[in-house]
Amino acid sequence: MGMEVLKSVTIGSGGQATTISITGIPATHDHLMILSSLRTNTSRTNYGYTWANWRFNNDSSSSYGYEWGYASSNTWAGYRATALDSLVYAGIACNANTSSEAFSYNKHYIPNYTSTDRAKVVLLHWFDNANDTGSGQGDLDSYPPYDWIQDGAGAWTPSTNAAINRIDMTLLDGLSSTVTIQEHSSVVIYGFTE
């Protein structure tokens, strides 16, 4: 079976408040691929991006962890964290410090998303777009603003393993302040079967 679109969200004129909730994900395939292209209205000094934090099945227990490596501003490093109440840094969005046509790119794979006998693993690749015209913008080797490339993995380990049927993507400025997700931002969930 080929890849099939399971859910599709495109933000319309005027934008949308800080969370994109995708519910009713059908348990019809083996694996998910999720492609998102995002932009918000925030304008933190020296930063051209906003983080996207994810939750599965509306679970806010301390059941998330991640480990990833990044490159930014001519540096590279890796981080890990466990027992989080959401999958923080799961994605990225361009913000108002980039030109108005700039959007981020995030691609995630969730293998075996319907299984109930194992924890869920999320493979993530994301890039802030930094698609800009200002001096130093679009660079990986100079800042401000910072630009990012990141690859890694996250995990969701609830007390009872469950099929993923809902994903909430919350975009926060500095992991705390709410934002408006801008028009043309989009999330598409694809299902595929081996």
Binding site: S99, A102, Y105, S135, L140, D141, D147, V188
Partner: protein, 188 residues
Amino acid sequence: MAVGDIGMEHIESIVIDDVNTYYAMDARAVSQDFKHLHIRVEGRWNNSSGATYPYIWFGEGGSVNSGAVYNRGTHNGYMNNGTYQSAYGDSGGSVGYLGEGLTNTSHGAGFTGVIYGDIVNYSNSSVHSSLHYHSWFVEDTASTYWKFARGWVNYKVASALNVVYVQATSGSTNFQVGSRLDIWGYNN
């Protein structure tokens, strides 16, 4: 994009059939029926000077845009040598750099490079298009570590692009037979 649509469709395939002729692979009438593109470049150069990264351009109306509209960023390094990594980028280049993935005749025989990525929002004339890629440079000589690269080419034009043009960095370098450019569309 409608729920239930086929998620990905193969829409372009350019395969090199003459080693003495082609230093570029280009698709100049890419379908506008999709929202994003997935591309895969597989290739090897016919001499020892072919750069591991090919050039890439985009364009509209079948014409290549070589204006100063390409933002470039790459993070690369060697897989078993964590001490060597590099990150670089710039704004407003006249061409994009595509990965660090292609081999040439100085590399182990039979090793062909692969670069893959996505061109996001290529058909939306209200936003910029951007290519995000990964590549793996693999070969068998003891003196060369296997190399990775990941990065972007941001095309700072709010347009519906229909040109994807991949070329050697030197006009005297050609693709070897079997090198290819494939493009898939994410159904819209």
